[in-house]
Symmetry: C2
Subunit: 200 residues, 2 copies
Amino acid sequence: MPPMSQSRPYHHGDLRSALLASAERTLREKGAAALSLRELARDIGVSHAAPGRHFKDKQALLDALALGGYDRLNRALVAADLPDAPLEPRLTGLARAYLTFAVDNPELLELMFARKHAPDIDTQLADAADLSLGSFVRLTAEAQRRGEIVEGDPEHLTLAAAAGIHGLASLIAADALPADEALAGLDDYVHLLLHGLKPR
Amino acid sequence: MPPMSQSRPYHHGDLRSALLASAERTLREKGAAALSLRELARDIGVSHAAPGRHFKDKQALLDALALGGYDRLNRALVAADLPDAPLEPRLTGLARAYLTFAVDNPELLELMFARKHAPDIDTQLADAADLSLGSFVRLTAEAQRRGEIVEGDPEHLTLAAAAGIHGLASLIAADALPADEALAGLDDYVHLLLHGLKPR
DNA sequence: ACCTGAACACCGTTCAAGT
DNA sequence: ACCTGAACACCGTTCAAGT
C-alpha cells in the first residue's frame, strides 16, 4: 500500500483499474453517451490529462471495457455449461446465462457489439467473441456426434442455435423486449428451436 | 422555388430535410460517433445555430433518423411479403428483406435499436418497431390458422420466428457475421427454424 | 514511471438580434 | 418564421514541466 497523504496523493496507485471501474459504473447508470474522460478524472480526483497515460484515447478505454465484458460473459457461459446434461436443458442453460448477462449489462453488451473499434483491437474483440461462441460450438458438435441434431455444416448449425439467443439478448439490451418475459419464455423458445415451428 | 442569390441565401428552403439527408450520409460514411451538428451546418452552408431551429437537440435529429429508418424498413418488409406464398418461402422472403436492410444500413439499424431516446420518442419508436414486426405477426397468425405451425401463444411464436432473424441482422450490422455468408445460408436457416435442429 | 497545468481545437446549446 | 453571431460551459488530446 502506498502511503496516503491527507490530500490527493501524487500517484493514484492503480489509476487504470479505477478508471475502468468508474467508467463501467457510469456506463451502467447513465449510458455510454454520458461517458466523459474529464468527468471520470474529476470523480477519481486526478487531473484531466491523467487518463491519457493509461488509455491512448477514449476509444481505447471503451475497447478495454468491451474486452472485460467478453471476459465475464465467457466465464458465465463456461460456468453455465453442463456438458453431461441432455441437449435441451444444456442449451437452455447456456441461453439463460447469456440472457442474464444481457439483463445485467445492457449497455456493456451494446458496447461489445458496437463496431467502431480500431482494426487491431477489432481482431481481439472478434477472438473474444469466438471464445463466447465456443460454448455453443462445443454443444452443437457433441450433439451432432450423438445424432441428436440434424446433419450439416457445424458452423451453420451453431449459428442457427445461437442467432436467436443473441437476438433475444440484443432485444433485451435495447429495451425492446421485457427481460422477465424473455426469461420466462426461454424454455419454450429453446424447445421451438430444437423441434421447429412446424408441427411434427 | 425561392430565388437563389450568388452567395448563401438567408433561407435555406428546406433545411430540415437537408440536415437529415446530410446526417444520414455522415452516418453511413463515418459512423454515428462522427456526427456533429456544427459540421452538418458547415457542410450545408448555414450557421451552427440553425439546426437548433429544426431539432431541439442532437438526440432529436438521431430520433428522426431512426424513425425514418423504421419507415423504410417497414416498406421493404411489406413489399417483400408474399401473403399467398407457402410458409417457408414467405418467411425466407421477409428474412431476406430484413437482412438486406441490415447490409445496406448497418449504422442506421444500430441507431434504430439504441435505447437512448427520450420516453416520449421511445413510444414512437416502439410503435414503429411494432409495425415492422407486423409482417411477422401476420405470417405466424395465418400459418397458425392453417395449422402449418404449432399451437401456442401467437406472440411467442412470432418472437421465435423473428428473434433469430433479428439476431442475424444485428450480427451483420455489427460486422460480426459476413453479410454474403448470412444471405447465402438464409434458406437453410429458415428451414431449420421451421423444422427444428432435432432430426425428424 | 506517473501525473499536472496550460493550451488548442473542437463540441452542443442558448439567446438576443437581425431579415 | 427562420436564421445569425456571440457567448457559455463543456469536451478530447497534446505536451512541456514537475515529482
